[in-house]
């Protein structure tokens, strides 16, 4: 019967429309970014360190309590200068992931980062940080050892440094645990990384009482690189070819290397006073344009 045929056609067209809509809707786009940023094969801090820097000598320990492998750092060579590279490391296989606590630092991780930053400052080395963490570790011992203070201390240190700093968001930028390494003079972000005040799942669990609604939360939180550039939270997007960084690591490294080089050169000509003045102005202006009534008092 022709009617049946027509019904089938209509159903098929509807299905196509639905598919098209879902493909182009921004909420899927944001969620696609979240998935890419967390892709099991997504390159991590040590991959970038290996590809960007011909030499890297790791430093370990916070000299106060322990060594936290969720944050790695050390001297690196970049374009004939020594820099300090510091970043979250999530780990590759199961054993490595457990060893690195899935890139979720304990207080000693942040305190190690502070120690390395102070060493860099003492010898005038620029600092490059790589951000890739679900967040600071929500553990009992982490609280006992002062997780909040460790992050506050790392933020304060980054704000006060006398050397240029560049932060690169390479994957997951999970809340305060990510920001602790992110208070830099320049903030770069890979196209498919995300940066958010709370994980989409955490947000969905609170707002929708259902972590499965993370897709909607991801869209609502405006966490993509395009959103962040629009809010002027980041300075530049580093392009990833279609498919994501894990399929085109060399190209992404070339893009990142060029941007790093440019930003470091711009920062290195500034006096310490000017560097800090610009840094304070950058952060103290954040959000100011989204307040009504400022001019009145």
């Amino acid at each position: 019967m022709p009617g049946v045929h027509l019904d089938g056609m209509v159903a098929k067209i509807y299905k196509q429309i639905r598919e098209l809509l879902s493909r182009t809707s921004p909420q899927k786009e944001a969620w696609r970014t979240v998935k890419l940023a967390r892709h099991p094969k997504r390159p991590q801090t040590l991959d970038y360190i290996e590809k960007l820097f011909p030499r890297f000598n790791e430093l370990k320990g916070d000299r106060r309590y322990g060594e936290d492998p969720a944050i790695v750092g050390g001297f690196a060579e970049f374009e004939h200068r020594t820099i300090m590279a510091i970043g979250h490391q999530k780990g590759k296989d199961t054993k490595d992931k457990i060893f690195r606590n899935f890139g979720m630092p304990n207080p000693e991780g942040y305190r190690k980062a502070v120690r390395l930053m102070r060493v860099a400052e003492r010898y005038g080395l620029p600092i490059v940080t790589f951000i890739d963490t679900p967040g600071a570790y929500p553990g009992l011992e982490a609280e006992e050892r002062g997780q909040g203070e460790a992050i506050a201390y790392c933020l304060g240190t980054m704000a006060s440094l006398n050397v240029p700093t560049v932060a690169v968001l390479i994957g997951e930028g999970g809340s305060g645990g990510a920001l602790a390494l992110g208070l830099a003079d320049r903030v770069l972000m890979l196209r498919n990384a995300f940066y958010s005040v709370i994980s989409p799942e955490g947000c969905a669990a609170i707002l929708w009482k259902d972590a499965k609604q993370a897709t909607l939360a991801a869209e609502a939180l405006k966490l993509t690189s395009e959103d962040l550039l629009r809010f002027r939270v980041i300075d530049e997007i580093i392009d990833e070819p279609r498919g994501g960084a894990h399929k085109h690591l060399d190209q992404v490294v070339r893009n990142l290397s060029g941007a790093l080089s440019r930003h470091l050169q711009e920062l290195e000509v500034l006096s310490t006073a000017e560097l800090k003045k610009q840094r304070f102005a950058k952060y103290e202006n954040m959000g100011r344009e989204y307040i009504n009534g400022l001019e009145e008092s």
Partner: protein, 335 residues
């Protein structure tokens, strides 16, 4: 259609607090003139509770105190002059679900009279000119958005310009989800401001009230020279519910409370509300005394600019003597 969402980040974590707040504002039904203490269950007449700064007369349990009440409690009568009271968020994320973020702000304002999660102003405490920031949990769980960050920075500007110590009272579930990444950035913003305070050697004291968690704790709240807390206040980066979920174990009794933080080296002192004004006066005196005794570089580059009310001091021995005299003249306060 875009689904619109909004909620208070801390609502799920502290249902019992929400209840108390309502009681604090508008008691209803049979217990219209009395409520029972959350901790010991003693019925307390509302008038007595208010007279007692919302502390239980039986067990001294500290119930939530609004920013306005706290101003009354602490500053010299009539000395408070607010700034930034008209600042409002423009809702940069266009965040909503059942009602928009903007509507939610308007509703909370109408219901509580609280305009934002932080009230700031100049005042005097025991005749000391100071700048004060008071957070209010009733406004979206005391969450930090762009307005809160801006108010804090302005308070720092005033503190530096007028050389007034900065005193901050926190009660917050952390960053405000409805302003997304911009609220996370307020941690960086307030941190930079605290760095300027440190460079300028302006005394900075924070007082952590129940609860102080997340992004507020991990930025300006823990960057003060002296950190005080109210008894039994929950003070942690991650809330107990999330930690329990993550580690799959029961948490020890008193986990994350002020007493736990004190014993783990994270605070200077736990202060009962009734003692707060006295203790604050003591630390303002001590820190200001220390500032006055700051050692200035002697000849040839002697720039001995006297601080407000300060003296120019030459030589280490004199510094020690002046500092000691200033300290001893304070008498014995606090505990």
């Amino acid at each position: 259609m875009e689904q619109r969402i909004t909620v208070e980040i801390t609502k799920r974590d502290k249902p019992e607090l929400k209840k108390e707040e309502k009681q604090d504002r508008a008691p209803s039904g049979v217990s219209s003139n009395a409520i029972s203490c959350t901790k010991c269950g003693t019925p307390i007449d509302l008038k007595d509770l208010e007279k007692n700064w919302f502390c239980c007369p039986q067990c001294d349990f500290h119930m939530p105190l609004s920013a306005r009440k706290r101003i009354e409690l602490l500053v010299d009568p009539g000395s408070f002059s607010e700034f930034g009271e008209k600042w409002t968020s423009t809702d940069p994320l266009n965040f909503f679900d059942l009602k928009s973020y903007q509507d939610r702000i308007n509703d909370i304002r109408a219901e509580t009279g609280v305009k934002e999660a932080m009230i700031c102003g100049r005042a005097t405490i025991s005749d000391h000119p100071v700048v004060l920031c008071f957070m209010d949990f009733a406004f979206m769980g005391g969450s930090m958005g762009c307005v809160v960050g801006e108010k804090f920075v302005r308070a720092v500007d005033i503190a530096i310009e007028e050389r007034r110590p900065l005193i901050v009272f926190t009660t917050s579930g952390g960053a405000r989800m409805q302003e997304g990444i911009l609220s996370l950035m307020q941690m960086a913003k307030t941190t930079c401001a605290v760095q300027r305070l440190e460079t300028e050697k302006i005394p900075y004291i924070s007082v952590l009230a129940n609860p102080t968690t997340g992004g507020v704790l991990a930025s300006f709240a823990l960057q003060a020279d002296v950190i005080l807390a109210e008894p039994e206040a929950l003070i942690c980066f991650t809330g107990p519910r999330v930690i329990k979920q993550t580690i799959g174990k029961e948490l020890p009794e008193g986990f994350g409370k002020a007493e736990f933080c004190l014993s783990h080296g994270q605070l200077d002192m736990i202060v009962s509300r009734k003692e707060l004004r006295k203790v604050l006066t003591l630390y303002i005196d001590l820190l200001e005394g220390a500032v006055q005794c700051e050692y200035e570089e002697p000849e040839p580059a002697f720039r001995g600019l006297p601080k407000r009310g300060g003296k120019i001091i030459r030589g280490i021995r004199e510094i020690k003597k002046v500092a000691f005299d200033a300290w001893r003249s304070l008498g014995r306060h606090g505990s």
